[in-house]
């Protein structure tokens, strides 16, 4: 028996999946979720084998939810219309259903899931997919979604002071505190708006808006002083980039 979740904010959309799923005796539907938050909780609680995931949902979209799941299960995306998402799906061979979809198309997707070997490869696909989406989708440039304990925190990028490498994680530092995100520095370097954020050092990305001044420091190096008082090291190449963006 495989266990599945439906995550979609439209009740009727969930009903279609539920109805189509009744044909598959080997799949047990364990829960329906209204949004990404409920979805996240249910995934942690039940560790399902498969999720049907809508892309456009309140507060955090399907991709952002998936970013917060540690070992994502197999995913069949369902979406009505999203150019960015569809491009990403096609590029990464992830199965997706375009609403409204037929029973035949649905069956094909589920049978493909049932036939697939569990599940190392699917996970890799999902990770690649999330990178691709983050690089292109406009929503992901506007906010960073992190998990603090059991809660989900949405940080608008305008609130970010700087980002700092922290072992395998990246610390996102805001006025309110710092949050860990399971991503690399180069991921953020690529996804954040380069006019607003500059990687000034191997381990630091700073928000241009937050800089009050830049002081020389030792040989070839500088220190950027932020409004919050934080002193951020700026490497030689980082200084060149910074000057370019600031136009000095």
């Amino acid at each position: 028996m495989r266990r599945a979740l439906i995550i979609d904010d439209e009740p009727l959309a969930r009903m279609v999946v539920m109805e189509y799923l009744q044909n598959f005796k080997e799949i047990e539907l364990i829960q329906e979720c209204n949004d990404g938050f409920e979805g996240l909780k249910a995934i942690q609680q039940y560790q399902p084998d498969l999720i049907f995931l809508d892309v456009q949902m309140p507060k955090i979209n399907g991709f952002e939810m998936l970013e917060l799941v540690e070992n994502p299960p197999a995913v069949i995306f369902t979406t009505a219309f999203d150019e960015y998402a569809i491009k990403a799906f096609e590029a990464h061979a992830v199965d997706y259903l375009m609403k409204p979809f037929s029973k035949e198309r649905f069956n094909k997707a589920v049978e493909k899931f049932l036939a697939a070997a569990p599940e190392k490869q699917a996970q890799k696909h999902t990770e690649d997919l999330l990178e691709a989406v983050a690089a292109h989708s406009p929503a992901q440039h506007e906010r960073i979604v992190v998990k603090t304990g059991t809660k989900v925190k949405i940080i608008p990028v305008a609130d970010v002071d700087y980002l700092m490498a922290d072992d395998d994680y990246v610390s996102v530092i805001t006025k309110e505190g710092s949050y860990l995100k399971n991503k690399t520095m180069s991921f953020f370097e690529q996804t954040l708006d380069p006019r607003q954020f500059v990687r000034v050092h191997r381990s630091y990305i700073i928000a241009i808006q937050q800089i009050t001044r830049i002081d020389p420091y030792e040989k070839d190096a500088h220190l950027a002083i932020l409004k919050s008082g934080a002193k951020i090291p700026v490497s030689k190449t980082g200084y060149v980039k910074l000057k370019q963006v600031l136009g000095i």
Binding site: E10, P11, L12, M15, N34, Q56, F81, K99, P156
Partner: protein, 343 residues
């Protein structure tokens, strides 16, 4: 301006003509009985002066093309340049060759030299004029094409906006679900969707319609959204009969309400009430649209997104005023107010 490769080709041709000219003149002078050496000096100097004049006139026309009235200026230029070339020969050749007979010959042939120079420089001027005006025309044509392309793109974008693919496909998906267990509701929704789409296609942007008509159209849209989102979405519409008769540009409210619904439904997770209120104030129809939002995650400035900017732009184009729309954000409620002057 001019395309570099074709310009360099032009200069190449000019230099080749110069050499040809020098050779021809050398031969002619020689045939009058002068030494090859004397003849070739004359030929080369004339050709250099003439090439200089041609280059000058060509360059002039490249950056400045005379209008219809100022061809006389061009004529004067050509005469002056031809004169300078002839004078150059008159005063420079004696410095290079002091032979009395030759100097005499130069002075006697001055008139002919002047006219030949005049013809050559004039010919050059005509060619350049044609060449550069043609380039200019190409450039203009390209710009025109680009502008047309831009207009087409904008039109296409508008069309796509009108169709609202996200809304349309999600509605179809809801109908797909209803067909299974509530066929009557599915049928009703198909009619609502059809009426809404027909209304959208029929609308003329420039037309003024009574508020009651605009609200009836909006209601179709809101009813569909309510089916999609179930109990999460509620709407409050208030507008008395006097207010309902007031006129406003058609489809003005649609983007405002779409925006309110989008923000309400996708920026919060709870139940959402979108309210639309119309009032008559002096000579204005005032319409207020409200929706909940989450100040923690969306910045107020994000509220004036593309849809709202479009409305503001339309109001400006119709009434030439920028103060007809305002937005407020407080207490988790986002408010948009528009004022439509009643003429």
């Amino acid at each position: 301006m001019a395309i570099p490769s074709s310009t360099s080709k032009l200069y190449g041709a000019l230099v080749a003509c110069g050499f040809l000219w020098a050779a021809l003149q050398t031969y002619i002078i020689h045939s009058f009985g002068f030494l090859w050496f004397t003849a070739s000096i004359d030929g080369m100097l004339s050709a250099i002066l003439l090439s200089g004049a041609c280059w000058l006139i060509n360059n002039n026309l490249r950056y400045y093309q005379p209008g219809k009235g100022s061809y006389i200026n061009l004529f004067i230029w050509v005469v002056a340049l031809a004169g300078i070339c002839a004078a150059g020969c008159r005063y420079l050749l004696p410095l290079l060759n002091t032979d009395k007979v030759f100097i005499n010959f130069v002075i006697q042939s001055l008139t002919i030299r002047f006219f030949i120079n005049f013809l050559a420089v004039g010919w050059m001027a005509m060619l350049s004029l044609l060449w550069y005006s043609q380039l200019d025309q190409k450039e203009t044509q390209k710009r025109k094409n680009e502008a047309e392309q831009l207009a087409r793109d904008a039109e296409l974008y508008n069309l796509r906006q009108q169709l609202q693919p996200h809304f349309l496909f999600n509605s179809l998906n809801s109908i797909n679900a209803l067909i299974g267990f509530k066929p009557d509701e599915a049928r009703r929704m198909i009619h609502q969707l059809s009426d809404f789409l027909r209304g959208t296609l029929k609308k003329d942007d420039k037309q003024q319609v009574p508020l009651s008509e605009e609200l009836a159209h909006l209601n179709l849209y809101l009813d569909i959204e309510k089916v999609r989102f179930g109990h999460r979405l509620q709407t409050e519409i208030s507008c008395d009969t006097k207010c309902g008769a007031a006129l406003l540009p058609s489809m003005l409210l649609q983007p405002l309400v779409e925006n309110a619904i989008k923000f309400g439904l996708y920026d919060t997770t709870g139940d959402v009430t979108v309210s639309i209120r119309g009032e008559i104030e002096e000579h204005y129809l005032v319409i207020m649209v409200q929706n909940p939002y989450d100040p923690q995650t969306s910045r107020p400035k994000k509220g004036t997104g593309f849809g709202l900017r479009g409305v503001q732009r339309r109001l400006y184009l119709l009434f030439a005023r920028n103060d007809l729309m305002e937005t407020h954000a407080n207490d988790n409620i986002f408010t948009t107010i528009i004022k439509v002057p009643q003429l």
